[in-house]
Symmetry: C2
Subunit: 206 residues, 2 copies
């Protein structure tokens, strides 16, 4: 099945499966059933099997899944079999928190560099990463062939900085600024809007 | 149309509309067209009109929308016409960043209290909010009739703390811990999984 048919929800679940498989791997578990995974995730076993079925045949009926093989296969499917380099742009509180977020390194995602325009922040170290001036972004991106940026600047700066990133060669942006970004069609954009998430809970409670 | 038919995506867009209407309001704009909103949001005008249509009749054909009226109506629809009190549980870097997140206060969401179990954090002030011991959560929740918690504890603590929150009377949890939470059916849960968001961008780039 072609990649384009895989929904973003499936991909996100695959990443969640990776996290759980790593947990099993650490515990020394060699073989798991789909039920073992799904008991932890609250996803039913048929969903798990369906998600995997997009990518091929895994596991043996009546035996289960080999934890190492399945984890390696799923990581390769996502593109996480090798380290993926990412930059963080804007190291206010949220940007600084993301640099230290343990969920990234667990998934082979490395924050390679962090940028800001505030001279009070430039040169400071966050989790052993020196904050660089935003004017250096293009040379760092090109030198390291980095394609992904996490954008944590204030909403009113976000479009301008995003344009700069695209000009520097960034192809994907994970945007935490609570604003709409107008980007070229070939740039991938995911928005994480925390106020919207909270607002939708408030609506449900009403 | 009943509330249960409104998709979470519609609700999230309504919140985004509120943010933009506030921007127009601040600029002193009285009347807008659906195109004015959608030019900023990259959503087409028919989507905007369709989203509003779930909740009633707004705006006048050929005239447009009264910014104040529409904003007040949309806020009331979501449940944001009055201040909504929320607690943050776990004030590591991410929790501390969320306490200062400007997107919440703009939407009438107030972080009323913050909790941790780490005695090094308890008593410290973050954005003028004193960090309280987690053992106080039930009394604060009950006293203030708080229904919503933002959970920012490490993954391995999240289930235990979520159970504690539910026991204290919390009805909705916005979970930032990268783990599945098993909660009673009557508790609303939204998960924000930043590694999954980044992973799905990595997949698209492959």
């Amino acid at each position: 099945m072609g990649k384009k048919h895989i929904s973003p929800e499936t991909v996100k679940r695959i990443i969640v499966y990776c996290r759980y498989l790593e947990m099993f791997q650490k515990k020394g578990v060699k073989i798991i059933s789909s039920k073992d995974v799904t008991v932890f995730l609250g996803i039913n076993a048929s969903q798990f099997r369906k998600d995997l079925s997009f990518f091929g045949e895994f596991g043996k009926r009546g035996v289960g899944y080999d934890v190492n093989n399945l984890l390696n296969s799923l990581k390769a499917i996502i593109g996480l079999e090798q380290k993926v380099q990412v930059i963080v742009v804007g190291v206010g509180k949220l940007g600084a928190a993301l640099i230290g977020y343990p969920g990234f390194s667990k998934l082979n995602i490395e924050i390679t560099a962090a940028f800001d325009k505030d001279f009070e922040k430039i040169g400071r170290k966050i989790e052993n990463l020196e904050v660089l001036h935003i004017k250096k972004v293009e040379s760092v991106v090109k030198k390291n062939n980095i394609k992904i940026a996490v954008l944590c600047v204030p909403a009113e700066e976000a479009q301008k900085v995003a344009d700069l990133l695209v000009g520097a060669g960034i192809q994907s942006i994970l945007n935490f600024a609570p604003t709409y970004l107008d980007l070229p069609k070939n740039i991938y954009l995911n928005n994480v809007d925390m106020a919207s998430e909270l607002g939708s809970l408030i609506f449900k409670l009403k």
